[in-house]
């Protein structure tokens, strides 16, 4: 076994006196103190806004800027007529490693389009935010670019987003009104859930 010599730092005379070291420490804290104090006052007068006086983001009022590639809450992109771009190909549901997507495909009114989702649900309580669904989509129908990070709810049920919330990221549960005019199934119309969730044994 090799012997490793550890060199302990030896304090010089001035360092042993403490006081010069204390003063140099005070210089740093005073510099921060007066710089930030000056900047805070300058901000009150609308000056020097480009220099931040504090690293703090006042969270609910002031959001931290997020990168454009950041994976936040999902949304379904829309065609010009307001119906979802999704063609119900099931690729995202298939690729999803967390099995959090449930799609029920139905016939699209336009004969040129084969299918459309009559249900599209994502359980955010299960989602791992891997972004595979976005990668795999051939129609650019699902994206994770809403920038919504405050995904919190009081129940597991409320974490399940259906097609209303996915098409309009502003919507929050509980939903009272359905304003989608293309054929789809939802609790508001049918009064009950159908599909994978409704039939799964735990539900």
């Amino acid at each position: 076994m090799a012997i490793k010599t550890v060199h302990r730092p030896v304090l010089t005379f001035w360092e042993k006196l403490y006081l010069p070291q204390v003063l140099s420490g005070l210089r740093i804290t005073f510099r921060h103190f007066f710089r930030n104090l000056f900047l805070h006052i300058a901000h009150q007068f609308g000056r020097l806004k480009h220099l931040r006086a504090a690293e703090t983001y006042q969270y609910p009022e002031e959001l931290r800027p997020i990168m454009s590639r950041y994976r936040s809450r999902h949304r379904l992109t829309l065609r010009d007529d307001g119906s979802p771009r999704c063609v119900g190909c099931m690729l995202c549901e298939t690729v999803c490693p967390a099995l959090c997507i449930t799609i029920v495909a139905g016939e699209h009114p336009d004969p040129n389009v084969e299918k459309a989702p009559i249900r599209f649900d994502i359980d955010l309580g299960v989602c791992v935010y891997c972004g595979y669904c976005v990668e795999v989509c051939p129609e650019d129908a699902i994206r994770m670019d809403t920038g919504i990070l405050d995904l919190a709810a009081y129940s597991r049920e409320a974490m399940r987003l259906d097609i209303h919330e996915l098409m309009d990221p502003e919507l929050r549960k509980p939903l009272t009104d359905c304003n989608l005019d293309f054929p789809h199934e939802c609790q508001i119309h049918e009064g009950e859930l159908r599909g994978a969730w409704a039939s799964s044994p735990e539900a």
Binding site: Y18, L19, V22, G25, L26, I28, T29, F30, H32, F33, N36, L37, H40, A53, A54, E55, T56, Q58
Partner: protein, 364 residues
Amino acid sequence: MLIELSIKVALAGIVLFGVLNLAGFHTWVERKQSALIQDRIGANRAPIFGFRALGLFHSIADAIKLFTKEDIIPARVDRTLHTLAPFFSVFFALVAFAAIPFGDRLIIGERVIDLQVAQIDVALLYVFAMLSLGVYGVILAGFASRNNYAIMGGLRATAQMISYEIALGMAVVGVVMVYGTMDLAELVRAQGRTFAGGWLPLWGIFTQPIAFLIFLIAALAETKRIPFDLPEGESEIIGYFVEYSGMKFGMFFLTDFLETILVAALATTLFFGGWQIPYLTPEGFVFPWGAELAVSNLVYVMLGVTSFSVKILLFCFLFMQLRWTLPRFRYDQLMALGWKGLFPIALANVVVTAVVLLFVGEAN
């Protein structure tokens, strides 16, 4: 007699009002100053009617919280001592302020009012006595809690405070020798004269700079705050007040701030001329270049009180800045600094002062 009494009560009221408010204010200063030092914003979320006032209302919120919290007295503690300890702490810290003069003599008609709650000939001794008795609150808190961590914290506090009191006392001996009095009001008056051709005031900082440094360090240790916060050590080492909750804990907290203010007041009185303003005499400003400006007694006294308050605030600011600059001492380092560092230097300072005084003669 009744007038005398009411004057005393009013003076005590002024001192208590000022000191307690300043202590409450300290909680805000602590938050905001540390925030500025660490590039943060600090507490600002206690609005009253939408006014945030830079988070000033957090102090009020703290007080309300502490008063309304459950006061837990653990089952096996000594109930009497456990309850008494925080009161001892706060009482001795508050009572010490009685001897601190915060202004010169105010003359209203025939009456001469000393702006000092208690005129004590040995005011300095009195303040030190009260400061020392403050350790009772700490050791009783540790002892009465029946908690090993608490009593260890109490013992650490006691050892630390007793060790540093010696350096503190020795440092002050030099000042007492120079000015030849223990009456704090007289001591401040003696600092009103000038030297170096009238350019410099004869403040303790100029006559006893070494003593000032020792006093400052030892006084910081007396307040039990960082870098000498081994008795409590908020987050890591458990302190003497583990078994306290609610306002009883708040009182220990308050004592810390009160002692900081007391030490700031002492440093001002002993080394920075108390209420003195350079070139301001009871008759008015007398500048060394010959100019004079007469002021009335009331203005003179009020200027003095303002000067005293400003100096205390500056010291509090400095202590707070130090608290957010330095890391905590290790316990053996603490003891080594106190006994092997400060104490011998203070002793040497006394000897040197004595020799110099022998040749130069006392300052008065």
